[in-house]
Amino acid sequence: MTDIIVSILLLAGASFMLLAAVGIVRLPDLPTRMHASTKAGAMGAMFTMAGVAFFFADGVVLARAFAIVVFILITSPIAAHVIGRAGYFIGTPLWSGTIKDELRDNYDSQTHVLRSGYEDGPGSVAPPPEPNPDKNV
C-alpha cells in the first residue's frame, strides 16, 4: 500500500516538473514562462517531498520534508515576484498578443515611480456625476 502511494506521489511530482519544463520552453514571454515554471515546479517538488516522507515514514524525515515544502512554498512566490519585477523594469518585451499592461500608463520607468491618479487627494479624480435633483421623488 505504501509503495502504491509513494509511486503515485513520485510520478505526480515528476509529471508536474516535466510540465513546468515544457511550459518554460513553449510559452512566449517572461511572465508566462514564470507562470509555468514557478507554480508547477514548486508543486512538483512538494509532491516529491510528500513521496519521500511517505516512503521513510519516520518523524525526523517527515519534519525535514515538511521544512522543505514550507520553504519552497514561502520562497518560490517571492523569487518569482522579484524576477518578474526586475524583468519588467529592464524592459523585457511582452508577448505580441498581450492585451493588458496596466503598469504601462501609470509607471515611469526612468524614476521608478508608480502613479495611482489620486496623488492630489480624492478630488483630483473626476467625481461621479451628481444625480439629477428634478428626478427625485
Partner: protein
C-alpha cells in the same frame, strides 16, 4: 514496484532538466535564463528526493534543503543585479 517507478521518474526528471537547459542556453533575455536556473534548481531538489528513496539514505534531504536555499538566494541576487544595472 518502487525501483521500476524510480527509473521512470528519473527519466521524466532528466527530460525536464534537458528542456529547462534548452531555455537556459537560448533564452533571449537574462531574466529568462534566471527563471530557467530557478526551475533547474527545483528539478534538482526533486532529483535529490528521488535519490534519497533510491538509496535509502534520508540524510540526503539536508542537501535538498541547502539547494533550495541557494537557489532562492541566487534568484534574489540576480534580481538585485538586474534592477541596479538599469539605474546607472
Amino acid at each position: 514496484m518502487i525501483p521500476f517507478v524510480i527509473n521512470i521518474v528519473y527519466f521524466l526528471l532528466s527530460l525536464a532538466l534537458l528542456l529547462a537547459f534548452i531555455r537556459l542556453t537560448q533564452g533571449p533575455s537574462l531574466p529568462d535564463r534566471v527563471v530557467a536556473l530557478e526551475l533547474i534548481a527545483s528539478i534538482v531538489v526533486g532529483f535529490v528526493g528521488v535519490h534519497a528513496i533510491d538509496t535509502g539514505i534520508s540524510s540526503l534531504l539536508d542537501v535538498a534543503i541547502v539547494i533550495a536555499l541557494t537557489a532562492f538566494l541566487a534568484a534574489i541576487g540576480f534580481a538585485r543585479f538586474l534592477e541596479r544595472g538599469t539605474q546607472e
